[in-house]
């Protein structure tokens, strides 16, 4: 086989591999495309039509949350973007369209919290599957917290800024894994001699907010 022929063969093999890899992730890609579209809306790349665009996005994607197509990380990302869109509308308060979208965002956030709680209940002690014992459940929680840590620590230079981000997610998104991750980081820092009192206060407040949110269930 000549050099160009070998290269052509390699090109086909690589293309085929990538096509299959993408094909297997079709549903996932669709979710990521939707998140990216929402992010474009938040960046106001659509100009004055932001309200309309958010309305359309909700009309198309409210089902995703109910159908359980979203991972906890996706819910966090969407929550973060929606929060910023809502802040934008609040700054320009007064328009009926803004109020409508803000209330739609509130409803989505409530649904996201319910979705988190339903995941917890599904994996609760009433399940008789052998893999759902406490060791397995803790292992899964640890793995999710570890994934969250990798995501949050990307590009950051100090553990304290990761802790800040994690606490923010625990407070705003009511993310249970973020709460556990924050507690772990605080204990780690405390054992290293850092002053952690302000972070402990924020952790307690985040815990209180999460308990309060659960009580609405």
């Amino acid at each position: 086989m000549s050099h160009p022929e070998s290269l052509k063969k390699l090109q086909q093999t690589l293309e085929s591999f990538l096509e299959r890899a993408v094909g297997q992730k079709e549903q996932r890609l669709s979710v990521l495309e939707d998140i990216n579209r929402l992010d474009n809306i938040a960046r106001n790349e659509l100009g004055d039509t932001t309200g309309e665009a958010v309305g359309e996005w909700f009309a198309r994607h409210n089902q995703q949350l109910e159908q359980g197509d979203l991972r906890p990380g996706d819910i966090d990302r969407i929550g973060r973007i929606l929060h910023e869109i809502k802040d934008g509308f609040n700054r320009n308060a007064g328009s009926p369209e803004g109020r409508k979208i803000a209330s739609e965002i509130d409803r989505w956030e409530e649904a996201a919290q319910r979705s988190r709680r339903s995941v917890t209940l599904k994996r609760g002690p009433e399940s008789k599957k052998p893999e759902d014992d406490s060791i397995s459940l803790f292992g899964k929680t640890l793995a999710r917290a570890s994934g969250l840590f990798l995501e949050m620590s990307a590009g950051r230079k100090h553990l304290l800024s990761v802790l800040g981000e994690s606490l923010k997610s625990a407070e705003i998104q009511k993310n249970r894994e973020a709460l556990l991750l924050s507690a772990f980081i605080i204990y780690y820092l405390k054992s290293g001699g850092y002053k952690v009192e302000p972070y402990v206060k924020r952790l307690r407040e985040a815990e209180r907010l999460q308990k309060e949110a659960s009580s609405y269930a």
């Binding site: 290269l7 690589l14 990538l18 890899a21 990521l32 495309e33 990216n36 990307a154």
Partner: protein
């Protein structure tokens, strides 16, 4: 809003879906400092980079071949 690296990763995957491998490779590089520990990211990034390099090499070879043909014709 999404972190720039997250957005770059999403755009890389969208470009892969559209078979726009050069854009995908560019976006993977932008996302790399933040996702390089992710195994799946690493595989997709390296495969795409290799594919772009192979395609570029093939393009060069085709160009050389066409130049050789032109020279053969011009020298009879």
């Amino acid at each position: 809003m999404l972190k720039p690296a997250e957005k770059a990763y999403f755009q890389a995957l969208a470009a892969l879906k559209d078979k726009d491998y050069e854009t995908a490779a560019e976006q993977f590089e932008k996302a790399a400092p933040f996702f390089e520990q992710n195994e799946e990211f690493g595989i997709l990034r390296k495969t795409t980079r290799l594919l772009v390099a192979v395609t570029e090499e093939l393009r060069k070879l085709e160009k050389e071949e066409s130049l050789n043909i032109e020279e053969s014709f011009s020298h009879g």
